[in-house]
């Protein structure tokens, strides 16, 4: 991957991010990128009966960055990735706000789409963040979903985040 030795492809921050600016960095100073695929996750406002007024994200400082960097390294090993960027916000977010950006640059689209989806499935089940919703009923931690473990399993990675049993 064409990143500088001490520039991480991963940032954890409270502040919002500029999607266009982040995508632009994947092509800065190079013309070998033929495909940039990206995903943005946002805060949903909940169903009419259970409006979410805020989402608060906690994380494990130090581990979070390392964990996602390791996932990016795996994506590079599995797919032809020229560069990647992951930005994940923490703290108190409101409905409609951006939470996470995953972006991948490749020479062709298949690797870019695959690596992007792979990184999201991996992040959902292995990155140490925890979400807490604020609704009219009070605050409640969001439950992990078995469907996310199943999504990661489709890449051949055994996952037991929301499921019983050791991974």
């Amino acid at each position: 991957m064409a990143t500088l030795a001490n520039t991480s492809p991963v940032r954890i921050q409270e502040a919002d991010f500029d999607v266009a600016a982040e995508l632009a960095t994947l092509q800065a100073g190079r013309t070998d990128v033929g495909a940039v695929a990206s995903f943005v996750g946002c805060v949903r406002g909940g169903t009419p009966g259970e409006a979410v007024s805020a989402l608060t994200l906690e994380h494990y400082p130090g581990m979070t960055e390392r964990a996602i960097e390791a996932m990016v390294a795996q994506a590079q090993a599995r797919f032809r990735v020229l560069d990647a960027r992951v930005v994940h916000r923490v703290g108190r977010l409101l409905p409609g706000e951006r939470i996470v950006l995953v972006a991948v640059a490749s020479t062709h689209r298949w690797d870019a789409f695959q690596a992007c989806e792979f990184l999201m499935d991996y992040l959902k089940t292995h990155a140490p963040f925890w979400k807490k919703e604020t609704t009219p009923a009070g605050e409640a931690w969001v439950d992990a979903r078995v469907a996310d473990d199943e999504a990661l399993a489709r890449w051949g990675i055994a996952s037991a985040n929301a499921s019983p049993g050791a991974p």
Binding site: R66, W130, K131, W141, V142, A144
Partner: protein
């Protein structure tokens, strides 16, 4: 012998953020993350409830995802937390 213990999310709300655990020099550390969880579960009613073996609790050792059989060494940082919900 010391370990650095950390809790996150609902475990942190129930048990506090964690801190340093120390065992006398002549007492063996819990050998694995699972053994530590079992030891912690015996420390109070709140610990027993939150760390009960049937509860889904994940563990990291030295900031890397681990499991119940992951061995512990002197000075290790061990974190317990609910299933993750990022992204």
């Amino acid at each position: 012998m010391k370990l650095q213990l950390r809790y996150f999310a609902s475990l942190r709300e129930a048990l506090g953020p964690g801190g340093e655990l120390e065992w006398p020099a002549d007492v063996a550390l819990p050998a694995t993350a699972g053994a530590l969880r079992d030891w912690l579960a015996r420390q109070s009613e709140a610990h027993a409830r939150v760390l009960a073996s049937q509860r889904l609790v994940r563990v990291a050792v030295d900031q890397v995802m681990a499991g119940p059989t992951t061995p512990l060494r002197e000075g290790a940082e061990v974190a317990f937390f609910p299933p993750v919900t990022g992204g």
